[in-house]
């Protein structure tokens, strides 16, 4: 006695079998719905393939009407038979995608009406696909003639709606409407969306200053649709309720406010918020939250209550490093390279490039002391115009080196501590217009040279200790505040 199952055709048998996972998913959705907690890693990992897997049934279900319609013409009649196969594939892939979706919803911290609607949509979609598949090719006569086309149209409509809901889950409820052109918005009757579920009055400090921060950085993961750790930041009440671990904001207690702790960590820290590549809060925003918590974390505080600090610190950019293009550097140094090499051999360890990527030079003759004299400074003339930092402290140079010094036009830092130079050399300083720091400590320079040095626009520090220049003497206006005695 053959069972009714064995009497079915192959296709129908597969159809019945396919019904089982659909019913299973239905049971799962009712009995084990997503509840906003995050769970087992496997569930989360597998579930994250849902956004990927879902594209297959979407593509396939859109293909079916194309095959049916285009297949009506005699030239493409071979297309029509394949529609059935494609429908079968759609059903199976829709079921699989729905299953992955349940894993994701269950394990990924989702809850709320949006995700529930999306899941119902997904399961209904699987069921409608199944109906299309079973209805195709039979019940073609009489009143049932329209069943298949209607079922197909319904399926596509359900898919569109489910897909839209899915997009909102990932990108936010208003991800389409917020960029909708004004005319279209009016036509559809869509209002400018409220970002917060319980928007506090903008006249309060919380409503006007703090809530927008959360809206801009936090509610994608801590909002009505997705709330990691059961923390919602979309209203004052839910903020103060805290997460599943307890309150995240404690009035006047920065130390005990987990929310504040997390946003002030170093970006490389594991606990840093916001995570997952979301834009971090600016230092001003962190500061605002800090003041608000320190002032009592109340939603009744007026928006003008806390006077923000006068100096808004500009956010210090994180430091980055440029790559050094060795070939380019070698090319730039080509003209100098042989002179530099020769001089380095003659005067070891006192002459070196400013950096690995630079063509400028740094000279520290102080190490040679008395042995470095005017003649030696002359010997450096081939490279003199590329020297940017020069230290001749305690060397044997005299005023006879003044012309040689004058050729060092790129000098930024010049030190002549404890040398025999006098105002004669100081006269050439006026021509060194890149000078930022000049030290004539313990030299023969007198106040007569101050006007020359006052011409240097970029000069920031002038060291004149142990000279005849005194603090109580006349200091040119341009040098006030830059001279150190």
């Amino acid at each position: 006695m053959t069972s009714w199952f064995q009497r079915l055709s192959d296709r129908d048998r597969i159809g019945v079998v396919a019904l089982i996972p659909i019913l299973a998913l239905l049971v799962l959705l009712i009995a084990v719905p997503p509840d906003g907690s995050e769970r087992a890693q496997w569930g989360q990992f597998i579930g994250r393939f849902h956004p990927l897997a879902v594209h297959l049934p979407i593509g396939l279900i859109l293909l079916v009407p194309i095959l049916e319609l285009v297949g009506r013409s005699p030239r493409f009649s071979y297309l029509r038979p394949s529609a059935g196969f494609v429908l079968g594939l759609t059903t199976v892939s829709a079921i699989a995608a729905a299953g992955l979706g349940w894993c994701l919803a269950r394990s990924g911290g989702y809850s709320g009406p949006l995700v529930t609607q999306h899941m119902w949509g997904g399961i209904s979609l699987s069921f409608f696909c199944w109906i299309c598949w079973m209805a195709r090719g039979r019940l073609d006569t009489g009143r049932w003639r329209l069943l298949y086309p209607l079922a197909l149209a319904t399926t596509i409509a359900v898919m569109t709606w489910t897909g839209y809901r899915g997009g909102q889950l990932v990108r936010g409820e208003d991800h389409l409407t917020e960029v909708m052109p004004g005319g279209m918005r009016k036509f559809l009757g869509v209002s400018v969306p409220l970002k917060m579920t319980a928007a506090s009055s903008v006249n309060t400090f919380y409503g006007g200053r703090i809530q927008p921060i959360f809206a801009g950085h936090c509610i994608t993961c801590h909002g009505p649709d997705k709330h990691k750790s059961n923390l919602r930041l979309d209203s004052y009440g839910s903020l103060m309720r805290g997460s599943k671990h307890g309150p995240v904001v404690k009035a006047k207690d920065l130390h005990g406010s987990e929310l504040f702790r997390r946003i002030s960590l170093s970006p490389t820290d594991d606990d840093f918020m916001p995570k997952q590549g979301k834009r971090p809060l600016s230092p001003d925003e962190v500061k605002l939250i800090e003041w608000w918590i320190a002032a009592g974390a109340s939603d009744a505080l007026s928006v003008d209550a806390i006077k923000t600090a006068p100096a808004q610190t500009t956010a210090a950019a994180e430091v980055t490093f440029d790559r050094i293009d060795a070939a380019e550097v070698a090319r730039q140094r080509a003209g100098l390279a042989s002179s530099v090499a020769k001089l380095q051999k003659r005067y070891p360890n006192i002459l070196e490039y400013e950096s690995r990527g630079s063509v400028n030079l740094v000279l520290n003759a102080s190490l040679l002391g008395d042995r470095f004299r005017d003649a030696d400074l002359d010997a450096l003339s081939p490279v003199a115009d590329r020297v940017v930092v020069a230290d001749f402290s305690r060397t044997g140079i005299t005023d006879r080196s003044a012309p040689a010094l004058a050729t060092m036009k790129r000098l930024r830092v010049l030190r002549l501590v404890d040398t025999k130079i006098t105002d004669v050399t100081a006269r050439v300083f006026g021509g060194l217009d890149q000078l930022e720091s000049l030290s004539v400590f313990a030299t023969g320079v007198t106040p007569a040279s101050l006007p020359t040095m006052a011409q240097l626009l970029k000069l920031r520090h002038l060291y004149v200790g142990e000279t005849t220049i005194r603090a109580d003497g006349t200091i040119p206006e341009a040098l006030k505040g830059k001279v150190l005695f």
């Binding site: 920065l254 130390h255 005990g256 504040f260 702790r261 002030s264 960590l265 170093s266 970006p267 490389t268 800090e290 210090a316 950019a317 994180e318 430091v319 490093f321 440029d322 050094i324 070891p348 360890n349 006192i350 070196e352 490039y353 400013e354 950096s355 690995r356 990527g357 630079s358 400028n360 740094v362 520290n364 102080s366 190490l367 930092v389 402290s393 305690r394 830092v413 030190r415 501590v417 720091s437 000049l438 030290s439 400590f441 520090h461 060291y463 200790g465 142990e466 150190l484 005695f485």
Partner: protein, 520 residues
């Protein structure tokens, strides 16, 4: 080998030719050490075998990497001048570092952290939340909160709070950059000091000064590039590894000098050896070392030759550099230093002289800041006050001198300990102790930086009202290292050395970031 023997009856007789031959042959055999045997082995069967293997395995992918070179920056030098100057990776302000390490961990709550709330709660029981989940070195049970033992006031145009213990340093308040949110994960001295100085709490890693020498070389070839001076009566707990070279070639290690008497023990020639005679001796040693290098090819041999030469040059220059009698009385008085007496003040004056002479990394350790309160010299109102007195004036004078000469523009000065101290009074064994002290607190401590590339007159980071934990901008020790290396002109990832299959770096393996807020 004797060419005559003493016979039992006391006569001497010349050995026969045969005996001499035998003795010579024996001596020659004994002169062939195992090392020689293994070396010549390579030219025999061994080489033939290796040749067959080499042909099989030699592809471009398998050819050995040149030994320790950074793939991005090349730090190789001629082995006879291992400390020659190299340019930094990019143009930077700092060209030398003076690191003042206060060994023992100075109490930030008695120096820079003004916590009136803590003072108000002085004597009350410490709340449980401060104790939960923490390990303490000595605190037991429920200690009492301890307010600052000294009054605070604001100083300088920046208006930073400072206690009354540092009256001289106060004048430089607008030059300092205070970091109040330093953090470490070590709560005992030796590993914490190792972490601060070598980037790793275990032994075997290269110290900061070694990295700087490796990266930049030493300008003055007649002095060690990395000099360490100790004061306070004891060496720091971390030991000599704090200035050791770890896995870097040993030529980059710090040289501990003395600030009175001979800078380095046994540097001077003994009375019977003149300098020319020493030169002849060194030439002979050089010749033997050169032969060894030709035989075995170990680059450390060439470095050894270089170090002997350095010691010879140091005989002239080191004594002169470290001799503070050459400074006028007025200068010595400003530091509070006395020649012949080992002190932090002497060390500071020597540090300035060394900075003028192109020493790359000068490190001063002052011992005795471990204010537990278990003895008078550990008490916050006795020993701690002494330490402040010993260091305040010299540090201020050092900053003065560097600034006057313009050297502060390219010298990075750092002051700090290895961790902080607790807001609670230490109660060793659960009892109230006779003297007042604090236990270790790795959760927050204060350091300051001054000089090259540092933004002066600011404070970075903040601790809570009790001064116990950081609430804003925590800075890990590795972040500080990354920032200091940045000021010296290096990306901390690129100043590296291949060892044990890893590109080792000062900031070790955890992610570190340069702190942009303290950069000028």
């Amino acid at each position: 080998m004797p060419d005559f023997e003493t016979k039992p009856d006391g006569r001497h007789s010349r050995a026969s030719n045969g005996e001499v031959d035998r003795d010579v042959r024996q001596a020659l055999l004994q002169a062939q050490t195992r090392r020689h045997f293994l070396r010549t082995l390579g030219s025999g069967l061994g080489t033939v075998f290796m040749g067959t293997l080499a042909a099989k395995y030699a592809t471009s992918a398998n050819t050995a990497r040149p030994a320790p070179a950074s793939p991005d920056l090349d730090f190789t030098r001629d082995p006879s001048t291992p400390l020659s100057v190299l340019p930094p990776q990019f143009a930077a302000k700092a060209r030398r570092v003076i690191y003042l390490h206060m060994a023992g961990a100075p109490s930030q709550l008695e120096l820079f952290e003004h916590k009136p709330e803590l003072t108000r709660l002085n004597g009350q029981d410490c709340p449980a939340s401060f104790l939960a989940g923490k390990r303490f070195a000595f605190i037991n049970g429920v200690p009492k909160l301890l307010g600052s033992q000294y009054p605070f006031h604001q100083a300088g145009q920046s208006g930073h709070w400072i206690s009354d213990r540092l009256p001289h340093l106060e004048k430089h308040m607008d030059d300092l950059c205070l970091i109040k949110s330093m953090r470490t994960d070590q709560f005992n001295h030796a590993p914490a000091q190792l972490l601060v100085q070598t980037g790793n709490a275990r032994l075997g890693y290269a110290s900061f000064g070694s990295w700087v020498l490796y990266g930049l070389g030493s300008e003055n070839q007649n002095l060690p590039g990395f000099i360490v001076l100790l004061s306070g009566g004891k060496s720091p707990d971390g030991g000599k590894q704090l200035w050791g070279s770890g896995f870097l070639p040993s030529v980059y290690q710090g040289v501990q000098c003395r600030s009175h008497g001979e800078p380095v023990l046994y540097l001077e020639n003994p009375s019977s050896i003149s300098r020319p005679l020493r030169r002849i001796m060194l030439d002979a040693i050089d010749a033997i070392d050169q032969q060894t290098y030709t035989d075995f090819g170990n680059p450390e041999t060439v470095t050894r030759i270089a170090q002997y030469e350095l010691a010879f040059r140091m005989q002239m220059e080191a004594t002169d550099a470290m001799d503070i009698r050459k400074e006028p009385d007025s200068v010595r008085a400003r530091y509070g230093s006395k020649p012949g007496v080992a002190s932090f003040a002497n060390n500071c004056l020597v540090a300035r002289r060394l900075a003028e002479r192109g020493v790359r990394f000068i490190q001063l350790y002052h011992w005795g800041w471990d204010s537990h309160g278990a003895a008078a010299n550990e008490a916050l109102n006795i020993g701690f006050a002494d330490r402040c007195r010993e260091t305040d004036q010299p540090i201020a004078a050092l900053l003065d001198d560097l600034q006057q000469r313009g050297l502060l523009e390219d010298t990075l000065v750092v002051w700090g300990g290895e961790f902080g101290r607790t807001s609670m009074r230490e109660n060793r064994g659960g009892q109230e102790m006779k003297w007042v002290g604090r236990d270790h607190n790795p959760g927050a401590f204060t350091i300051w930086l001054a000089g090259a590339g540092v933004k002066p007159g600011i404070t970075h980071g903040e601790t809570d009202d009790m001064g116990y934990e950081i609430v804003r901008d925590p800075v890990e020790v590795r972040d500080l290292h990354a920032t200091m290396l940045y000021l010296l002109g290096f990306d901390h990832h690129k100043l590296n050395y291949r060892f044990q299959g890893l590109e080792q770096k000062l900031t070790s393996v955890k992610p570190a970031r340069v702190v942009p807020e303290i950069l000028a």
